[in-house]
């Protein structure tokens, strides 16, 4: 095989010999020669170490140097293997890259980066702000006990804890050193936000992707760099091929679709504004659960309107899938930014005038928004979007862009709320952690599988739950039907209607038999116990039968494989057996 090295081989070997070990190893790896050529050209480390031994050093010193250098390089390479165990999610990320390609991987890498970011900010806030306050004792003026609703609304019991602004008092803590809480709060938050802006990893990736991207036009990049060698799933490859050769052009419909999307955005802003006014009035009535109305509606707007945008897209074929992604992202960003803008205006101008301790209130509002966003988008809408996106052209890139926007929106809320609620990054960490595993599962489901999941979800929790509720209403003696209305007025329980009727049957011919059956079979607990036991035992037998059949299928499969691989052998065997 020809090698393209500029220097002749002895010169190359000599040059490499002058470098320190790590640099030399890296330089040897970068040479575009085959392993065999490198070995015969005298480039392996053994050769260099033997040269070292031949230098005019005492034998002990030279073998010591050899031992030290060898153990360093071995240590370094074994660190690389332990890295896979320690780094978060490394195995899952490799799996995702093989199944879905590099674009989807970039979404998950972004998620992981956000998680690390939030973790770091949580640690900083915890150690500088929350822990000193906890040590000093909390600023409690009212005592409210913990009810479950706090997890959703953030108010109530959480109101006076370190989670929100209101839980801090600005005194100076006298211990060994004086710790000024006011200065600590101020400087931690401000420094943290400033440092995030200047963060080196953000700047680096910005430089790498945006600045350099501008210099390569579409065609060359499309040809040489677009093929993703890491994808090994044939369906993904086929759809990629179809997209590469897609080209159409329309223009007049663009204007109409832009107008429609702007109208939708303006409409949602007006709705949010109106709702903010209502929210203020409601909270004056001190009704906690009603404060959930604003977050729910805002989150719904942010989730539903992009679906309407994509419907608008469908009537308007774009010149290339890439511009579909850009334009849709632009519209989504516009929508979210305007909604957030209205919320910020409301928080900063209207709330302070009407509510005491308004910072806690704003912090709780942000907390509610984050929690609602997580619940509604992650649990509900991901399913719906997966089905809806799977049916449109250019689907996977679209989906990634929207998921990334969701992450960015969540992080924006966390940053906005950080002044009002220092421990908000903790919520964000939990949310991102759960989102990783859910998205991993969701991306791998096809539309048909999603519908199965939908139906299973509908049946099990939904239907069975409602059945249980109705049964409880009918059966329990505690729930007396109301006296003034309804068909069961005057009875003690709903079920009494049936038992009264059965008693009345006793006088008719054939009646006593039915009454006996009713009394001793349907109303007896022993009967139900025995029948449930019988059903359970029957299920157990069926289950064992299924297991046995699975094993049988497995062994039949192995037989098929062995027969097809060695047909001659099986024919011989059957010949021998027949003799």
């Amino acid at each position: 095989m020809c090698s393209d090295t500029v220097l002749s081989e002895p010169e190359l070997v000599a040059d490499l010999g002058k470098m320190p070990i790590r640099a030399r190893t890296q330089a040897i790896r970068t040479l575009p020669m085959s392993i065999d050529d490198k070995r015969t050209g005298g480039l392996s480390e053994k050769h260099y170490l033997e040269n070292l031994k031949q230098m005019r050093l005492k034998p002990l010193a030279s073998s010591f140097i050899v031992w030290v250098s060898q153990s360093f390089s071995r240590c370094h390479s074994s660190m690389a293997t332990y890295r896979t165990l320690v780094v978060l999610w490394l195995g899952s990320l490799k799996e995702i890259q093989a199944k879905f390609g590099t674009a989807v991987l970039s979404y998950f890498l972004f998620l992981k980066w956000l998680l690390m970011f939030n973790f770091f900010s949580f640690l900083v806030n915890l150690s500088f702000i929350a822990v000193p306050q906890l040590v000093h004792g909390l600023n409690r003026t009212s005592s409210v006990s913990f009810r479950g609703l706090e997890l959703l609304t953030g108010a109530g019991y959480f109101n006076q804890t370190v989670l929100f602004y209101g839980g801090y008092n600005g005194g100076v803590i006298e211990t060994q050193l004086e710790y000024n809480m006011q200065l600590a709060y101020f400087f931690t938050i401000v420094t943290y936000l400033t440092v995030s802006v200047l963060s080196r990893s953000m700047a680096r990736s910005f430089q790498r992707n945006v600045v350099e991207l501008g210099s390569v036009t579409g065609t060359v990049s499309l040809l040489f760099c677009s093929w993703d060698f890491s994808v090994s799933d044939i369906k993904a490859i086929q759809s990629h091929k179809a997209r590469l050769s897609d080209r159409t052009k329309h223009f007049s419909l663009h204007l109409v679709s832009w107008l429609l999307s702007l109208v939708l955005t303006a409409g949602s802003c007006a709705a949010v504004h109106f709702l903010c006014q209502v929210n203020l009035k409601v909270s004056e009535l001190v009704s906690e659960a009603a404060t959930l109305l604003l977050p729910v509606v805002v989150t719904l707007i942010i989730l539903v309107v992009p679906i309407l945008f994509s419907l608008i897209n469908k009537m308007d074929p774009f010149p290339s899938p890439r511009s579909v992604v850009y334009i849709t992202m632009l519209r989504n960003v516009l929508l979210r930014m305007s909604v957030l803008g209205i919320l910020c205006y409301y928080w900063l101008t209207q709330v302070p005038n009407k509510i005491p301790c308004w910072e806690s209130f704003v912090g709780q509002d942000v907390y509610r928004l984050i929690v609602m966003d997580f619940l509604l988008s992650a649990l509900g809408f991901s399913f719906f979007r997966q089905i809806e996106c799977g049916k449109s052209l250019g689907a996977p890139e679209f989906d990634i862009a929207r998921n990334v926007l969701d992450l960015i929106y969540g992080q924006t809320l966390a940053w906005i709320g950080m002044y009002f609620s220092p421990l908000l990054p903790a919520i964000q960490i939990i949310k991102l952690f759960i989102t990783f595993y859910m998205k991993k599962v969701l991306f791998s489901f096809s539309a048909a599988q999603m519908e199965t999941v939908f139906i299973a979800l509908l049946f099990f929790p939904s239907l069975v739950g409602s059945l249980a509720l109705v049964a409880y209403t009918i059966w329990r003696y505690i729930l007396k039907p109301s006296l003034q209305c309804g068909p069961f007025q005057g009875l003690n329980t709903t079920f009494q209607a049936v038992s009264v009727w059965v008693d009345g049957l006793g006088s008719k011919p054939g009646g006593p038999g039915a009454v006996w059956v009713f009394r001793n079979v349907i109303q007896s607990t022993v009967f139900f116990f025995l029948s449930s036991m019988a059903v359970i035992i029957l299920q157990y037998f069926f289950w064992q039968a299924i297991l046995g059949q699975k094993q049988h299928i497995g062994s039949l499969r192995k037989q098929i494989v062995s027969v097809s691989l060695f047909p001659f052998a099986s024919r011989l065997r059957s010949l021998f057996l027949s003799i």
């Binding site: 085959s34 390479s77 074994s78 890259q97 350099e212 036009t217 040489f224 060698f229 890491s230």
Partner: protein, 186 residues
């Protein structure tokens, strides 16, 4: 099952670690996958190209034959790979390989006629590989000519009608997608 030794000696593993970009785990995994491909009855340590192309990582790749030809060290270059050729392949496509190595091998893979430059014929074969074999996805001659003209305008700096290795490396270095898409992980 009898046949080839199933363990790589430790000195060989550390030698491979020094000469390639692979970690110890990757080398051992590659050895395992390669032994599965090897024919237990034949004496040679080369695996023919057809068997290599049955691997799931290469099976649906449009450049699979070119990849086997580039990394093969057999005398009449028939695309068969020894274990060391296989390691070279994985090393060039690994996570830690540098941009220079990847662009060097990408150039050789895209150079269909092995003449050291990418001329119009090579680019045409490249486009056909990417767009597929059916009639509706293939480009017509007019579109093909226009596309090749665009590419040469952007990448051919000395205007000799072909893209040589340095011009290719220059144009690749400005594209941030290349390193991440030129990857095969077992």
């Amino acid at each position: 099952m009898g046949g080839a030794a199933s363990q790589l000696p430790k000195e060989m593993v550390s030698e491979y670690q020094e000469l390639t970009f692979l970690t110890k785990q990757e080398i051992l995994l590659a050895h395992k996958r390669f032994s599965e491909l090897q024919d237990r009855d034949s004496l040679s340590s080369r695996v023919p190209m057809e068997k290599i192309l049955t691997m799931p990582e290469l099976k649906s790749n449009p450049f699979r034959r070119r990849i086997c030809h580039v990394f093969s060290t057999s005398e009449p270059n028939d695309g068969s790979l020894t274990f060391e050729d296989f390691l070279d392949l994985l090393s060039a496509f690994s996570d830690s390989a540098t941009l220079e190595i990847k662009s060097h091998y990408a150039f050789r893979i895209f150079d269909f006629d092995d003449d050291g430059t990418l001329d119009a014929g090579d680019l045409e074969k490249l486009v056909n590989c990417l767009t597929g074999d059916t009639d509706e996805t293939r480009l017509n001659p007019e579109e093909m000519r226009q596309l090749i003209k665009n590419i040469l305008e952007e990448s051919d700096i000395d205007k000799d009608g072909t893209v040589n290795l340095s011009e290719f490396q220059h144009v690749i270095s400005r594209s941030p997608d290349f390193v991440s898409s030129f990857k095969i992980v077992l």
